[in-house]
Symmetry: C2
Subunit: 512 residues, 2 copies
Amino acid sequence: MKHSLSRIQHPGLQAKLMSADEAAALIRHGDNVGMSGFTGAGYPKVVPAALARHIERQNAAGGDPFRIGVWTGASTAPELDGALAKVGGIEMRLPYQSDPTCRQRINAGEMEYIDIHLSHVAQFVWFGFLGKLNVAVVEVAGILPDGRLVPTSSIGNNKTWLDQADRVILEVNHWHPTALEGMHDVYYGTALPPHRKPIPLLHPGDRIGEAYLHVDPSKVVAVVETNASDRVTPFSPPDAVSQRIAEHIIHFLGHEVKQGRLPPELLPLQSGVGNTANAVMAGLNNGPYTGLTAYTEVLQDGMLEMLKSGKMAMASATALSLSPDGIKEFMDNLDFYRQRIVLRPQEISNHPEVIRRLGIIAMNGMIEADIYGHVNSTHLMGTRIMNGIGGSGDFARNAYLSIFMTGSVAKGGKISCIVPMASHVDHTEHDVQVIVTEQGLADLRGLAPRQRARLIIERCAHPDYRDALTDYLERAEAVARSGFGGLHTPHVLPEALAWHERYERAGDMRAG
Amino acid sequence: MKHSLSRIQHPGLQAKLMSADEAAALIRHGDNVGMSGFTGAGYPKVVPAALARHIERQNAAGGDPFRIGVWTGASTAPELDGALAKVGGIEMRLPYQSDPTCRQRINAGEMEYIDIHLSHVAQFVWFGFLGKLNVAVVEVAGILPDGRLVPTSSIGNNKTWLDQADRVILEVNHWHPTALEGMHDVYYGTALPPHRKPIPLLHPGDRIGEAYLHVDPSKVVAVVETNASDRVTPFSPPDAVSQRIAEHIIHFLGHEVKQGRLPPELLPLQSGVGNTANAVMAGLNNGPYTGLTAYTEVLQDGMLEMLKSGKMAMASATALSLSPDGIKEFMDNLDFYRQRIVLRPQEISNHPEVIRRLGIIAMNGMIEADIYGHVNSTHLMGTRIMNGIGGSGDFARNAYLSIFMTGSVAKGGKISCIVPMASHVDHTEHDVQVIVTEQGLADLRGLAPRQRARLIIERCAHPDYRDALTDYLERAEAVARSGFGGLHTPHVLPEALAWHERYERAGDMRAG
């Protein structure tokens, strides 16, 4: 490709240029492969697909099955997770996925999946807890003469993959502007216990590392050139439910400022991915706040607009996840955004130490909450994985304020997202402070379990389910009073998961 | 009392000397009262009992009910929790209790209880999330001429109570040796976000603060003298179950050292309270390790012996919890132990930042685990509170290694501590790395849910329950294969809590 000389300035690495197929052939059955990629940003675009073709041919030829471990930052895209899962090429996937084919394979028992707090992944690899990382496949925007790498639209676990893998394949993607250079902050001060030092980050915009990733050039076995877009999803305007949730949250934050429990410029915002998150950002962008900051995993259009309007001064993330319009805005004004966005490794964006210190306002989506405030972020009806816990636990546990949000019902009202007992618990009653649906907001701080239950039912449950939830709670209290349980967290054990069972069997949680 | 002049050197505070009854009369109905005390150490000995008598008289006289909020470090003793709960004097209790009368009241619905991560408590009070703290009742060993306070056998949340309360009652306990002075390290560098700085603690023995607690003398409304022992529990030699659990853990740690995943001196140890913890410490004391350290909540006899033998170089905790023999040993050799023990506020002993940095080996007891590795630390049969989560979440989530342990059965075999689904989740699958019973140890690192299930059943379940657990798992897989669920975390929803229900109704989890 015409750009090679400018993008790949290290002569030794230029010499390793090859096709995606040639590079993919360097990956072997049984390898654990660390791929770049976080929320559909910065993943390798062509080597995984070439590998999938290779696996398909090999399996069609009737040889031994060819399967690998796929480790990433977080979710990737159909060309990576989808392609490899489709050919049955993934033995073990970690730490997060959101791909339909992956999900189907995992829930069919055809693929193993380990769902890990995103802040835990890098250190578990350093500790040797997840086995040997054999290969890294990492997308970069360029290679400097001394071999340092310019990251692209996400950093995720790339530093760790490049450090830990025996063999490294680099994808140099010409689609990314070279002007990304300087936006990243890669902290190389981590260490193994007992040699760890404080992470010297005091404000969301602090730069504590370097703008480049390091790699030992002698480990690089292939360099592949690409020119392909990140996975981009058009931005859909928030629906009425997201809009109402956003209004409740914005009203609540205003109340907290009035009570003196939040400073006028709030505290650094963390926000999960999706429409509701964008709606909250839009609401804040129209609100009275200035000097806002973000310390989050993923920067979406909503935050980009706040940076543009000047309401937000600085945003830290590990990945960008923008719509086509957002990408155009970002690329057209890269000099502006480079001064206001810092992309970091996820071991830093999600670090408990930093999150606790900064005092984050954490806003994460969920699948369901139960009346006592336990949150399920990962499983449908207790058994089917949806995506994964991602960074929600890193943020919720260590946040100043931990907010979870969802519509009060799903599937046209057939599923209540407020249930008697969560069918899977990812965030316990000890980590959930605020629950919001379009119906309202329940502030659970300082409340005991049964107080929480009454508030959640009253404020958050959909009217179609409110009476049934109250009935459950009252009968649970009666069971306890009759001697078969306690009144701290009363339950009717044989019915605790009956709503989920009913949905599995009848397609509707409502009694028929 | 004869010691007043030497123990209470501040003239203004000497002038506030009064009886426990007079001091208790300064506490009003509706007050939130922050009491010192952590694991039966350092709690006020006479004011709570005087308050209980006052409440009893008032309630007997038929006046309005007199109830207060009781906030502590962690558990206290019959003279505090027991006495106040007995007279129905507690409206709301937080963040932890282990008192039989309290437990009975909470489970009878007569008293509210909020079960909070111990590292969260102080900051929630600073943030204003739990309401106003009206009174502090704090035990001290002495008062310096300038009003600084010498702490006793625990620090817990005392710094926060003294800072935040409007009125302060001090109990000066002559039972504590004055030679405790200098053992404590009270860090006054905390701040509210966005003004927080790194906690400058790099090694378990580091001293980052002062040896004294501060209080504004003008807030002190009463000083009461006492001479009373902490709650002391005789040390019972480990039973066979604890012994076997300890052996499995020690074998595992040895294996990790051999694999290069732990340094030869291990990493700082955290250990819950109780016989099994003491058995693990005894095992380590007889093992090949030297230069061990501890960074934990509570220092028990087991660690004292390791300090004495020289196997352990330094221990950090927020409280001592010693047997009568342990107390004698400690008091007889205070100069030795003062150089090897640091007592800190629980906001530091349990701080996620510090735990993550130091790379703790966390060993905590539990009530039950399910086959997928979710841990219940707090509830009996899903509804009755036992004690509380305490610091187990602070340590488990941020540890280098997170180990949970229990006997495989309870109540003479009528309860299996390995169950199909945990009846309450305090530690999720994302936070549990190792499960140990006397049957064996399951190393869950790098395993997907169904792989974990087979290992936990094989290694940890009691033989009496093993077949039933395997049967449950296989039928859950069959349900998923028949289209009513997923194979990621398969469950037979109507049976997931049936073992608990059976125990409630029939007194035995085994099918009859």
